[in-house]
């Protein structure tokens, strides 16, 4: 089901943990599946120096958290804003269609942490919208129902 890269990031997640006195913290949950992701950013001179996460969620949620934090470290805020759920998924060699929504969590919690940073520092970040606490997956019903039905 998952690519090797996803499994690697799931088994050996990078950047798990918390950052004390982080520049920005964002927590986002998916109302539907109930998963929650929390991202901590350390930002200095407009550059993301460090990122950590805590995630309660599925394999894809853990792997995308791990990958998103990896991708964001060292980037400017502007560059960080360009990270989308699709680019995280691509960096993981793809996700199964039903699991694309999990990568949204990563994108949104990153944005939420940046929003928190902006608020704390009283700045506006161009192109950043106020995050919502709950992520909905709008195009979930566009693709066919996928295999898999939990308990058989």
């Amino acid at each position: 089901m998952y690519s090797e890269k996803v499994m690697d990031h799931f088994m050996n997640p990078r950047n798990v943990g918390e950052i004390e006195n982080a520049s920005g913290v964002g927590t986002v949950g998916n109302a539907k599946c109930g998963d929650i992701m929390k991202v901590y950013l350390q930002i200095e001179d407009g550059i993301i120096k460090d990122a950590k996460f805590k995630t309660f969620g599925c394999g894809a949620a853990v792997a995308t958290s791990s990958m998103a934090t990896e991708l964001v470290i060292g980037k400017t805020i502007e560059e960080a804003l360009k990270i989308t759920n699709k680019s995280v998924a691509e960096a993981l060699d793809g996700l199964p269609p039903v699991k694309m929504h999990c990568s949204l969590l990563a994108e949104e919690s990153l944005h939420a942490a940046l929003w928190d940073y902006a608020k704390k520092n009283n700045i506006t970040i161009e192109g950043l919208k106020e995050p919502v606490a709950d992520v909905h997956d709008h195009d979930h019903h566009d693709h066919d129902h996928e295999e898999g039905s939990g308990c058989c």
Binding site: F10, V16, T27, G34, K54, T55, F56, H101, G150, C151
Partner: protein
């Protein structure tokens, strides 16, 4: 590393003896049982004998056994077949909230076609009471369909008593016994059952093979129309190897039955006790005693099911979960929700289901590994605080 397979409620390995019983019917004795000539007649005989074997183990007549392509087809057939054949008498069906999707989605389908369905609540342990069933009966009730045992939490329903209620009201009673067969002794007559579904792959038999028991004389519309197979009630060239395999699996399942169940119950209880003792914030889902001998369903708080499954898998243990994240639908198990377990806790349920092949050593390995795996996940969770 040897895999520890603890998902026998999902499916089971086919036993060697079953495969051996099936093999001749692929290449040698392959004829169409409906044909006149000798090589087909041997197949006809194998078919008749298989029917007899299955009838014997559920206490029915041979001519009350009808082969299907699995549990889902049997459930669909029973429910739609009764709904249609009895629609002149009424349009009301009684079932429970914790049925398998093969029953639930069939009922939902019928609701779109003018039928009315009562989905009974269950108690904290997943039980439905005969009184609740009786209270739900209306003049228009034409079918009661209640599963023998639940596939997720293993709770065993008071089938005989519910059957008695149905009988007293002269309402056909169907039970989805897909999980119960091979775990409990079934006697359709004694237990007042009119229709019963079972499936081969849950009892170390072949996938794609099931049975619908239909009490003699009960009117039922066909689901699959066509040729005259199964005495005109289920069309399609008979899957002879599958049928022979299913019969063999039934026979093996009910051989040394009591000893096997005793052993399995012991392993199950060891597993449950061990997990509850070594992992904090953890409870048993389902009924403490009225449960299948092979089922241990544990609710683990602050842990997400799919991740837990994946980590267990990496540790060589195969199990399953009622977590939303393992399903395409994003909703956590309707069964756990029906027990009143809140959304976020339903998330962290894990189901271990034993099979004949499991050993005590395997249970020891699970007991050894689980606490650390759970701890690792909790450490990563934003919800967990010591």
């Amino acid at each position: 590393m040897n895999k520890i397979y603890l998902d026998n409620a999902a499916t089971t390995p086919v036993r060697k003896e079953v495969v051996e019983a099936m093999l001749p019917y692929f290449t040698e004795s392959f004829g169409n049982p409906s044909s006149v000539y000798q090589i087909a007649q041997m197949n006809k005989k194998a078919l008749d004998e298989s029917r007899e074997t299955i009838a014997k183990y559920i206490g029915s007549q041979t001519n009350e056994i009808f082969f299907t392509s699995g549990g889902s087809e049997a459930d669909n057939w029973a429910i739609k077949g009764i709904a249609e054949a009895h629609k002149n008498k009424g349009n009301h069906i009684i079932t429970t909230k914790i049925e398998h999707h093969a029953v639930l989605h069939t009922c939902e389908y019928l609701e779109k076609h003018g039928y009315e369905v009562t989905y009974l609540d269950v108690d904290d342990n997943g039980l439905v009471s005969p009184e609740a069933v009786e209270a739900a009966i209306k003049d228009t009730t034409i079918l009661i369909s209640i599963m023998y045992a639940n596939n997720e939490i293993g709770t065993i329903m008071p089938i005989k008593e519910i059957g008695a209620v149905a009988k007293a009201h002269k309402i056909p009673f169907h039970t989805d016994a897909v999980q119960a067969v091979g775990q409990v002794r079934i006697d359709v007559k004694d237990q007042n059952i009119d229709l019963l579904s079972l499936s081969g792959h849950k009892i170390n038999g072949p996938k794609g093979m099931g049975v619908l028991f239909i009490k003699r004389g009960l009117k039922l519309e066909n689901l699959i129309h066509g040729g005259g197979q199964e005495r005109g009630r289920r069309a399609g060239t008979e899957n002879v190897p599958g049928i022979v395999g299913l019969a063999k699996a039934m026979e093996l399942t009910y051989t040394d039955f009591d000893a096997k169940i005793e052993k399995m119950t012991k392993l199950r209880d060891k597993l449950i006790k061990g997990l509850l003792e070594s992992i904090p914030y953890c409870k048993l889902n389902g009924h403490p005693t009225k449960r299948l001998a092979n089922n241990a369903n544990i609710g683990v708080e602050y842990v997400e099911g799919e991740s837990l499954l994946l980590l267990l898998d990496m540790n060589g243990i195969a199990a399953s979960s009622g977590s939303a994240c393992t399903s395409g639908s994003l909703d956590p198990s309707h069964v756990l929700l029906a027990l009143g377990i809140p959304h976020e806790k339903a998330h962290g349920s894990i189901r271990f289901t034993l099979g004949v092949q499991n050993t005590e050593e395997e249970i020891d390995v699970v007991l050894e590994k689980m606490p650390a795996i759970v701890q690792r996940m909790r450490d990563m969770s934003p919800l967990w605080e010591e």
